[in-house]
């Protein structure tokens, strides 16, 4: 399986994520930040540690030992089983998203080394239709989990999915939640170690399936994580939401996260957890 040309697509996605120009405005502290400085910190604000978006490829470069990523199942491509159209045809939307992000769909999967330990790794990219899970994300993650089971590899999935299950593939997207969860259940039975890393945002059907099923659940600081969207909840209860609702810190407080891990420490934290669990 081919190792994709990492450098090209990294550049392309970086351009999209952090606007062009020397300076960028931080959504966390509203300060104007020198762009190079943020990039040197793996896209973290030097003033307030706000974690900016990183693409799936950048994430893999940050977490894995250099040059060790072997991509799996990059030949799986989305199609349009419902012939879905809202204001735009889903088939056209897919092409546009592919051109804009350089990805075939919202996830990358494969294997690589973390501090010389081989792992299976999957990442969802919130830039591609909000990182939502359709048939391709579901199938790639299921294959990833199954290979991790067969080869007794530790498993890491980094979620960045504000869109949950992808509406444009209807019920097929919903069923991916069950499919991946069933694969994880078998992986668990086989004694595998699964570390789920939640990043901004992880919502809906992604939060309500593989993202919540880690033996260990890590989250980046101040990420939005939850089942129902905050606007939906506000419309339902007709009250203001509590301060910090559905953030990583809120989930830690309520007992759903093992550790909040800053981006710069993620690789070491994963390596240490693998050491502890002996896999």
């Amino acid at each position: 399986m081919a190792t994709a040309n990492k450098d090209q697509s990294t550049k392309r996605v970086l351009k999209r994520a952090v606007p062009d120009g020397l300076w960028i405005k931080c959504p966390g502290c509203k300060a104007t930040v020198y762009r190079k400085e943020a990039e040197n910190l793996q896209n973290v604000c030097p003033k307030c540690q706000y974690h900016f978006y990183v693409s799936a490829r950048q994430r893999i470069a940050q977490v894995l030992d250099e040059g060790t990523f072997e991509e799996w199942d990059d030949h799986l491509c989305p199609t349009d089983p419902l012939k879905f159209a809202d204001k735009k045809r889903y088939a056209d939307r897919l092409v546009d998203e592919q051109q804009r992000t350089g990805l075939t769909d919202a996830s990358l999967t494969g294997s690589g080394m973390i501090r010389a330990r081989r792992v299976a790794i999957g990442v969802t990219d919130s830039a591609f239709i909000m990182g939502s899970m359709g048939s391709v994300v579901g199938e790639k993650l299921t294959r990833l989990v199954e290979r991790a089971t067969r080869h007794a590899l530790p498993l890491i999935i980094v979620s960045g999915s504000g869109g949950g299950a992808r509406m444009h593939e209807g019920i097929l997207s919903l069923m991916q939640m069950a499919k991946v969860s069933a694969a994880l259940s078998r992986y668990h039975e086989a004694g595998g170690l699964y570390i789920s890393v939640l990043t901004n945002p992880t919502m809906g059907g992604v939060a309500a399936s593989f993202a919540s099923l880690g033996d260990l659940v890590f989250a980046e600081p101040r990420a939005l994580i939850g089942f129902a969207g905050p606007r939906t909840i506000k419309a339902t209860i007709k009250l203001e939401l509590p301060e910090g609702f559905q953030t990583s810190e809120f989930l830690l407080e309520h007992g759903y996260i093992d550790r909040i891990v800053e981006r710069g420490r993620l690789k070491n934290e994963i390596a240490r957890a693998i050491d502890y669990c002996g896999k």
Binding site: C77, I171, A178, E189
Partner: protein, 360 residues
């Protein structure tokens, strides 16, 4: 998946209104969906004639009886026409009909006994999730089902079938109990979606739904899931992993409510009918997409017109399926359950296409 906010908003609209009796009278006089107008008119006429009946052998009475027969014939013709041409949005109206049979109705009509088991042993007893032992034909089973509630009071206490995390925890604990005694599990799915609220998020709504699917995929006992009304996204799937998935003819099962989808993609809830068309969530589509095993036919004019007949059909489906599943060794059951969900999804495989191109 997102949450069914239109439905949930309706929930709170009801809950927030303190004037319960008004609502009850209102909902009992509401005449149902507009596409039933012609049918309801005939039904009213029949009732009128029946009330005017002389109950004797007079020729007037015979004339009246003839009129009733003619009206019934006309009703049949019209209902067949209306119900064989329902749009997806109209099907949603049927699935949400206020008189549609709920889990509790089926427990009364299709089962010989129901022994309710309450509570999740952690936080509370979610009335939106009904669980307990039940007997059907010669089988002892565990029933787990969403309950929407019939009266205003019941609806409010059930949150209109929108379960909280304690509901899913309750379901999981009863299903584990069933597994321990090799008792088959029957899940009745009927929810607009899992409840979207502050407490639900605080108590791990996402985590419990994930955990439930994770567990159900490996429970060592047969599981039959039937969507009896609304199959609202994750809240439905949370009790939806089984060996057989049946769907009533006018139920629907969707990744998102049509209102929610319209709100996001068309920027307005008013476009719900368009979203309903696009989402392909009716029983016919679900069968075509390979996510369900069987469509259970409803009585003419929908399950809400004849609870007994519907319960009878549901019972035959359940008994027949229990018989099939009970005959299988549990290991085979589990590997087939895995394979069933494993094959769901539609995508292009570049390698297979290349291979196919190479051989032709």
């Amino acid at each position: 998946m997102r949450s069914p906010y239109e439905a949930a908003e309706t929930c709170t609209a009801f809950i927030a209104n303190p004037n319960a009796t008004d609502l009850e009278t209102m909902s009992s006089t509401l005449n149902g969906p507009d596409f039933e107008a012609g049918m309801l008119e005939i039904e009213a006429k029949i009732r009128e004639l029946q009330a005017a009946g002389l109950r004797d052998e007079s020729s007037e009475q015979q004339d009246l009886e003839q009129q009733i027969i003619d009206l019934r014939r006309e009703w049949n013709r019209l209902t067949e026409e209306v119900y064989s041409n329902l749009s997806p949005w109209q099907i949603v109206q049927v699935a949400r009909h206020k008189d549609r049979p709920y889990t509790k109705d089926y427990l009364n009509l299709a089962f010989e006994e129901f022994v309710e088991l309450h509570g999740d042993k952690h936080f509370g007893d979610d009335r939106a999730m009904l669980t307990g032992f039940a007997k059907i034909d010669q089988y002892k089973v565990m029933v787990v089902g969403h309950q929407k509630g019939r009266t205003y009071k019941e609806r409010a206490s059930c949150n209109f079938g929108c379960a909280h995390p304690e509901g899913y925890r309750k379901a999981m604990s009863k299903m584990r109990l069933a597994e321990k005694y090799q008792m088959p599990i029957i899940c009745f799915i009927d929810t607009p979606g899992a409840y979207p609220g502050v407490g639900a998020e605080e108590r791990g709504q996402a985590q419990v739904i994930a955990e439930s699917m994770f567990q159900m995929s490996q429970l060592k006992t047969p599981i039959i899931c039937v969507v009896i009304g609304e199959g609202g996204s994750g809240g439905a799937l949370g009790i939806g992993v089984g060996d057989r998935i049946g769907v009533l003819e006018f139920a629907y099962y969707s990744v998102i409510s049509p209102e929610g989808c319209a709100g996001i993609l068309w920027k307005s809830h008013e476009h719900a009918p368009k979203a309903a068309d696009a989402l392909r969530f009716t029983s016919k589509h679900l069968l075509e997409l390979g996510v369900i095993d069987e469509v259970i036919e409803e009585p003419l004019g929908g399950a809400h017109r004849d609870h007994h007949k519907m319960a009878g059909r549901l019972k035959s489906y359940l008994v027949k399926t229990l018989e099939e599943l009970k005959a299988q060794p549990v290991e085979q059951l589990l590997s087939q359950r895995y394979a069933k969900f494993r094959q769901m999804g539609v995508y292009l495989d570049g390698l297979q296409q290349d291979a196919a191109a190479a051989t032709t």
